[in-house]
């Protein structure tokens, strides 16, 4: 009886350790993805980190319920996207209440990937460009927006995006085509209005 109890306890501890190890591997593999998905919506590093952290905590709580562990990244992306949209809505409500428009959000963009390529004289132009680009992305329908964002993160190809979104590759291709078309139209219009 005592041996059985010890064996059971031992197997439980082993299962627990395996669970922790597996989740740690997923965390190391997907943390940047979750952050960037959140950032694509929120465009503020702190908010994006908070949301990604919450998404991982939620994923940890529900990790045992995930039957196919290979679907973890897709699951995490959807969860993070939803949570980021929720946070964005909450932020907007708060901003409306406080009558203050977030001026500093382009700073985060400049802090990121673009900044490394720019020297000091291009800062103003980069801000304007980034603002235009983000405005155009934000104006896209949600399905197109998510495809564009996922295709733009970590060089995902069509197959990877279709796996993350759980939709056929052809659907991803057509959505990406539509999204790029709309983006180009919007950015051209903005350029034309700026020039005139």
């Amino acid at each position: 009886m005592h041996e059985h109890a010890e064996r059971l306890a031992g197997s439980l501890v082993t299962a627990d350790l395996e669970f922790e190890r597996e989740f740690e591997a997923r965390l190391a593999d997907s943390s940047r993805l979750a952050f960037r998905v959140a950032f694509s919506v929120l465009r503020q590093r702190e908010d994006a980190e908070d949301v990604a952290q919450e998404a991982f905590a939620k994923a940890y709580r529900s990790f045992n319920q995930l039957r196919d562990r290979t679907r973890f990244r897709a699951w995490l992306v959807r969860m993070t996207w939803r949570m980021a949209l929720d946070r964005q809505r909450a932020n907007r409500r708060r901003m409306v209440r406080e009558f203050s428009v977030a001026d500093g959000r382009t700073d985060d963009v400049v802090e990121g990937g673009l900044q490394t390529r720019l020297d000091a004289t291009d800062v103003v132009a980069a801000r304007e460009r980034a603002e235009h680009l983000w405005s155009a992305i934000e104006a896209l329908p949600e399905k197109l927006r998510l495809v564009v964002v996922l295709a733009g993160i970590e060089g995902h190809d069509m197959r990877e995006v279709s796996g993350l979104l759980d939709v056929p590759e052809g659907t991803v291709k057509s959505r990406l085509f539509l999204a790029r078309k709309q983006l180009k139209e919007r950015l051209s219009w903005m350029v034309a209005s700026t020039k005139s």
């Binding site: 985060d108 790029r180 180009k184």
Partner: protein, 197 residues
Amino acid sequence: MDGREHEKLSDEALAREIEDALGVDPSPEFLPRIRARIASERVSESWLWPGLWRWASAVVAVAAVVIIGLRVSHGPSSAPREEHIVSAPPGEHPPAPDNVASSIETPASGIAPVIRRVHSIRRPAVEAKPEVVVSPDETVALRKLVVAIAARQVGSVDVPALGVEAAPLPPIEEIVPLEEIVLEPIKLSPMAGLEGE
């Protein structure tokens, strides 16, 4: 890419632009913060289950106390009733309540029917004996008859020899015809309290 380049924006340029915009890395504290958060989840989870068990056992205990309390509170009202039924002697009956059944028995010599009340109070099966209503004279006669039959002293019975004579019928003239019964029609008047409603 400046304003002029937007006009001839190719797919590749757009993709590169988006990649650049999204190429933001989290701060170095990001991963440690997530790990700390997950560790706190682990701790709260380990506290949560014993807490749930504690709550569940408390609920079960309260439910048990309530059930026992209800049984105890209902017990005294039902127990004396059973005791009353069991202790009731077979011959004695309480004054006629509403739940009695009446049986009408017509005696041989009497004019008016005798109404006997038989109580329908439930009794245990052991004490349930059917009530047989026999007059004492008839009882004695029946006993004698049974004894005589047992002793084979009774053969064929000659009824006129027993001296039993049929009761003489009254003469037809003495029979008084019954008067016709006239019933007045029943009038139903509305109840005073309901008129105003």
